[in-house]
Symmetry: none
DNA sequence: GCCGGTATTGAACCAAAGGACGATGAGCCG
DNA sequence: CGGCTCATCGTCCTTTGGTTCAATACCGGC
């Protein structure tokens, strides 16, 4: 039952994939001019890097594998790339490092006619279709902080170092750290970079 | 293991649901003023009719069930209602008449952090955002980096830690640092946070 | 007057990030 | 061939970031 086919030019992530589907086949990406077809494949996993043309990969795969549903495995998952994949006809988009368990789950969903979309990507879709006032988004998270924490959070989101913030606010660096610890706790982020992404209303990490 | 909870005011569809989750509990929709909370519920299934205010139902459920992911079961599924449900914070939207097998599948997906969207609804989402291409251009700064550096830079801009990037790319953490050092040099930034701001095209990396 | 939230700071510690040396190998180009 | 870029990795070290123990002080409400 070679219903699963992995398309990749690198083999780094193979172990995880084959753990999920030991019976799967693997082959390099078809070129846009390739003429062969294979109708036996039910599910094709398309491995892409951040710089690859995902839409082209998906379209070529759709042509040579007429009977297959297509899932994109991203080395570095990103929302724009995810959108491109789905628009090109892919049925799923997730990290190439996803656990075997997750891979099997996604396969099950898609074989049954569903589509898989990660949480952040769906957020992006919703944001695109229902453009709420962008000026009201950042404050939503900032409202959960105390005034002083807000000052610190905004400075960090702008790229400032702890020492700079301490000087700017006339307090000890230790106090900046204290505020930051409280901020991470209440907003559920792990460090200043993710805080910056959150405040600036950008993609959150994950698949 | 009462991790599943069905919220409904009618009981017509109950048999199918309980076939999927025999151990689930069932209770009427909470009112907007209800004060109880239940953090044990992992997955809450919200049953709505075509005339219900699905957003309100979802928000109330989110309040009284802080630890739960929310799935809307629609008596008469519709795209607009699906959108409203997802915007309000639901993690899934499907027909109340779905087969038990599908219910279990959706539950599995959502418990693992995913979201469930039916094919038609996703088509609708994609169609709605398709006519947006003007704002779609990769930052020019990335052109000044080598391909590998670009991968690392994008991962950092997404909030990843060095160790994560190393695993993702299958290289040593030391190599990630090497690439980052070169990136900082090339782009004239001092750390990963300012790199993130630069790539994400935000305000300014000013000092 | 006490209590909870906020703001502040210290010492110490651990983890992550970044720089400073250096090194190897693959691939390209004149 | 020799030089060049790119990618890879190692060790040692410093700086920065983040956490874990605190403690002090103000302020508003009950």
């Amino acid at each position: 039952m070679n219903r699963h086919l992995f398309l990749t030019d690198r083999s780094l992530s193979l172990p995880g994939w084959l753990a999920a589907f030991p019976e799967a086949r693997v082959r390099p990406h078809p070129a846009s001019g390739d003429e062969f077809t294979d109708t036996a494949v039910r599910l094709a996993w398309i491995h892409v890097g951040p710089a690859d043309d995902v839409a082209a990969r998906v379209r070529v795969a759709a042509r040579v594998l007429p009977g297959a549903r297509l899932i994109v495995l991203a080395n570095v998952p990103g929302q724009n790339q995810g959108l491109a994949a789905l628009e090109a006809g892919a049925s799923g988009y997730l990290s190439a490092l996803a656990a075997p368990e997750l891979l099997r789950q996604v396969a099950s969903v898609i074989e049954n006619g569903g589509l898989w979309v990660g949480p952040e990507l769906l957020d992006r879709l919703l944001a695109a279709i229902a453009p709420r006032d962008g000026a009201r988004r950042a404050p939503a998270v900032l409202d959960r902080l105390t005034p002083r924490e807000r000052e610190v959070a905004l400075a960090v989101a702008g790229g400032a170092a702890n020492k700079e913030i301490a000087n700017r606010l006339g307090i000890a660096e230790r106090t900046v750290k204290a505020h930051l610890g409280a901020i991470y706790e209440t907003l559920g982020v792990r460090d200043r970079l993710q805080l910056s992404l959150l405040i600036n209303g950008l993609p959150k990490p994950g698949n």
